[in-house]
């Protein structure tokens, strides 16, 4: 039975490499090898831990949008306007880098995950300018650099092969 297991294992790692480990390693959050969206320009702490936000932000927003619109419940924890207020950034791709928009932040992961959202067909993605404080033009990034990500993937591959060689090596 070792042979099929090994083939499955290699196929898994190959898939992982091909897909950039989107699904399997997204749960690792900031230690993962997915995209590194820019940190919020404003605020120090998100409403939930980063890993939680990455995985469930759409559920939080969708649940609460119905409560707000249909029942009139306002001022609760999640708010698309507050996402925009904190995470909007200036980018040379949008309006020549003159305005803060949420696009660079959302697009980084959504392009990677091939998710098309239509929030901003109706909602504005433009944030009001930050009034004071010396903020860098582009904020520092979450997570690892591309080199660190490569090292992480090769490390995982190496560990996997090593574990297999300990019990008799890869398929004869």
């Amino acid at each position: 039975m070792r042979l099929p297991n090994n083939i499955l294992g290699i196929a898994f790692i190959a898939l992982t490499l091909l897909l950039g480990a989107g699904g399997a390693y997204a749960a690792e959050g900031t230690n993962g090898i997915g995209p590194n969206p820019a940190k919020a320009e404003k605020g120090e702490q998100c409403v939930e831990p980063v890993d939680d936000m990455r995985r469930y932000h759409m559920n939080y927003l969708k649940h609460q949008r119905d409560e707000t619109l249909r029942e009139g419940i306002r001022g609760k924890k999640y708010s698309l306007n507050e996402c925009i207020d904190c995470h909007a950034a200036k980018s040379p791709d949008v309006a020549g880098g003159n305005i803060r928009t949420i696009k660079p932040f959302c697009a980084e992961c959504h392009q990677f995950a091939a998710v098309k959202i239509d929030c901003f067909e109706c909602h504005t993605g433009i944030a009001s300018p930050i009034k004071k404080g010396n903020k860098p033009p582009m904020p520092s990034k979450h997570g690892k650099t591309d080199q660190e990500k490569d090292a992480l993937v090769f490390g995982m591959l190496e560990n996997y092969l090593k574990s297999k060689s300990d019990v008799g090596g890869v398929a004869e």
């Binding site: 009139g72 419940i73 001022g75 067909e121 109706c122 909602h123 504005t124």
Partner: protein, 252 residues
Amino acid sequence: MNSNNLPPITEEKIDIERRRLLASGGAIAIASGIMLYGGGAGAREKGQPATSAQRWGMLIDTTADKSIWDTVVTACKREQGWGGGNNPATDPQWVRKVSIKNKSTGAEATLPVMCQHCANPPCVDVCPTGASMQRADGIVLVDKHICIGCRYCMMACPYSARSFVHEPVHNQKPHMPRGMGTVESCTMCVHRVDNNQQPACVEALEAKGSKAIIFGDLNDPDSEISRAVSAHVTRRIREDLGVEPGVHYKGI
């Protein structure tokens, strides 16, 4: 069959009466529940839903100087971000100035017409997706998340109060998402009402020293609007339809 000879409006009225009975029974149950929490008419805590303890409405004084209604239209455009299109036939119009004349007497009046926030809204009845909806406090809204742009509500509305967005929209206000392919109308400035503020048109009129529109809670007998409505004879447009609008007019 005799029933076939009855004008359809009669059946409609019976239906509405029946519904009103059911609705009032429901309201009593809800109101007693609210009393348990010690709440009443007035400001709502953050995080609390709108309830039928309130019934938001407006009283519009059509005897006011007619030039004042431009203030209303301008304030609405500025607050909600509509207007400025190049196709008058199809551009969204949340509120408009209407002039009427009694041909036999020659009497004229000018009044603003917008969503009348009916108690029995036909737009909600006909909506196939549930996007056209009424909040517990009587404000009629479009849930654009699920609006498919079929425009049945526009056809059902006796006041032509709703507009379809034909062209892409940019630079929306953060509190008022608007998008192509959906229907929209006056929201009675629900984002302001939830924040214990008056609608933008009422505030703009007050800034000019005019009380031509009174906004308030029709369920609260002590509110300014309730006192005004009980003191003056007011009319609602097309009262015969039985849709029970929340917008009252004085002087027509």
